[in-house]
């Protein structure tokens, strides 16, 4: 077990492609960190640099107090689970799991004990004699995890381990991974582009975009206090709605839409947004904060009528798509709310949960 620190790490490929543009990240011992971001943002590259599969162009990576830049993967004492599992097709499950131990010259009975323990934990004892070809996707996934666990490495690395599974199995394996981490609290770096996976698994989530870290934080913190427009838009599903507004002072600080609609900023935020008076900004509001109206509204709630465009019932909630000031937005309403396309639906916007993005820097203020 060990902490991992990434210091000003850069990765460039030939032809001036900078996949990772100088990132800093401190990962505590036992911590479960998830790297999340859109495709091509450099998550895998970062993970592979930690693993030693990619050379580090600049900067340093430390594992457990040592710089590992020049240490080959086999001496880094890490284990990695790949998206396509990368099980050795010609070896049985047992041999797959034992391969690393055999190469490290563990005694035979020790190997057997370790493999059996890991197999028990993952509930794959009865599969030990099978070849990977004879396993289902979920079973292969378990074996791949088993292969990582037996070696009891300092760090676990996962690269989108669940994306080849169907939706149901994915949820199940997600829980499994969390359980394993609770049993064996090895420092873990987990890459995914699925934000639900990120939110549910992580102690801390690292949001990456275009080779830089946008924000690091606990899942709830990222949700409630995104620091950039990218994080605000990326975390949460359906995504946050963004509306162009102007901050105006009209008997109290308000945001004004292009069509003239004004919405009051809650009093406790007036100081925070005061300096931006007169500026063009972007208002961010999550679909769950644009809901159907209730009898008694809290303070800070703004009412508005929406002409329903598309209705998507999801079961536990219903998504309503409509336009505000010509911008397509989405609201999340109670499934019992009656609404049909073309009808007018009164909505309550909870301004207590608004976000204001400065357009020039894309930062949330």
């Amino acid at each position: 077990m060990a902490n991992v620190s990434i210091r000003k790490v850069v990765k460039s490929y030939e032809g001036d492609v900078q996949a990772v543009k100088g990132i800093d990240l401190e990962i505590e011992d036992h911590e479960f960190v998830v790297l999340v971001g859109p495709s091509g943002c450099g998550k895998s590259t970062t993970l592979r640099m930690i693993a030693g599969l990619e050379e580090i162009t600049a900067g340093e990576i430390w594992i457990g107090g040592d710089v590992v830049n020049d240490v080959p993967p086999r001496d880094r004492d890490i284990a990695m689970v790949f998206q396509n599992y990368a099980l050795y097709p010609h070896m049985s499950v047992f041999d797959n799991m034992a391969f690393g131990l055999k190469l490290r010259k563990f005694p035979k009975d020790e190997i057997k004990r370790l493999v059996d323990d890991a197999a028990k934990m993952l509930d794959i004892q009865m599969l030990l004699d099978r070849k990977p070809k004879a396993l289902s996707g979920g079973q292969r996934q378990r074996v791949a995890m088993g292969r990582a666990i037996v070696r009891n490495p300092k760090v676990f690395l996962f690269d989108e381990p669940l994306s080849n599974l169907d939706a149901k199995l994915r949820v199940q394996m997600r829980t499994e991974i969390k359980k394993v981490h609770q049993l064996v609290p090895t420092t873990t770096v987990y890459v995914t582009h699925d934000q639900i996976e990120a939110m549910t698994l992580a102690d801390r989530v690292v949001v990456m975009n275009h080779g830089v870290i946008e924000q690091v934080g606990a899942p709830q913190e990222l949700y409630h206090n995104p620091q950039t427009r990218f994080v605000a838009g990326f975390i949460g599903s359906p995504a946050m709605n963004f509306l162009p507004v102007q901050v105006v002072d009209d008997s109290g600080l308000k945001v004004q839409l292009a069509d003239g609609t004004k919405m009051a900023i809650p009093p406790e935020r007036v100081d925070r947004y005061g300096p931006y008076k007169g500026k063009k900004m972007t208002l961010g509001i999550r679909p769950e904060h644009m809901t159907e109206t209730h009898e008694s509204e809290k303070p800070g709630v703004q009412l508005m009528n929406a002409k329903v465009d598309v209705v998507e019932p999801m079961g536990m909630e219903t998504l309503v798509h409509h336009f505000v000031d010509g911008v397509a937005v989405c609201s999340r309403v109670d499934p019992n709310t009656k609404c049909r396309p073309g009808e007018i639906l009164p909505l309550a916007i909870d301004m207590n949960n608004m976000h204001l993005v400065e357009d020039s820097s894309s930062r949330v203020v």
């Binding site: 460039s12 030939e14 100088g22 162009t57 600049a58 900067g59």
Partner: protein
Amino acid sequence: MADGSTMVVGASATTPPAPRQGGTMKRLARRRSMAALALCAPLIALIICLKIYPTFYAIFLSMLDRKMNHFVGLDNFAYLLGRPSFHLVIFQSCLFAVTAVVMKAIIGFILAHLMHNIRGSSQRIWRGLLLVPWVIPLSLSTLTWWWLFDPSYSAFNWTLSWLGLPEVPFLGTVWNARISVIMVNTWFGAPFFMIMYLAALKSVPEQLYEAAAIDGASAWQRLIFITLPMMRNIILITVLYSLIVTFADFDIVRILTNGGPQDGTHLFATYAFAVGIQSGNIPRGASVSLFMFPVLATLAFFVLRDVLNRNKEVAT
């Protein structure tokens, strides 16, 4: 491979790199590519010493006189071009290669389709039986053909007279012998075409045929608009490759006719052998072989282009 250059880009973009790092990385990468090169060394040595060097050496040899003491320039080539028997060689080589390849391609195509019609486990057995000609070493099966053609004991002629037909001197006249060697080559090579085409047929997605069937295409239209275009590349590669091999063929003619009758069936390879090894005129033999070079190089160019194209196609 190019850590040196990317290093600079990365470093200038952010922090100065730790100095030792660059050196080690570069050294590691260099050591790795040295090891990679070392693993290829036997292959490279083989290609250079036994393919490239002999090619240039052949050019050098072809410009010497018979005793290999004097440089005679292009005299050997000029001499050959002036000889009627060499004209026959050129004619026969082209006739042999083109006719045999066309025959092989057509028979192979028919066989592949027939094989494709019957599916399931019996296909393996039929394929195995049809591949027998191609599995027996060519020199040995040619010997058997010779025995079948044998003037006094010919089993073919026995059959012909049994059927009440006149006997045929299979290897006795120039044109008969030409047809016979083409026949033997077709017999030997058609199975190769069959398996290449069969693999190609199998790689055509079934949905395409279903889609075409729904669009109302007849069997003939499916062949013209789906099968042939989908197989185009493989047909091309196989035909070009076979042209090379057939053009440079040696075994059949050498054993069946040894160039006769009246030098009418000599190919470049057998003629080069007769001139260079049997008559001991190494330079002239080398010149005969070199006459193949432009044709082979042209064909090889097209094969390579098609194979590389195909790789690109498959990769995307």
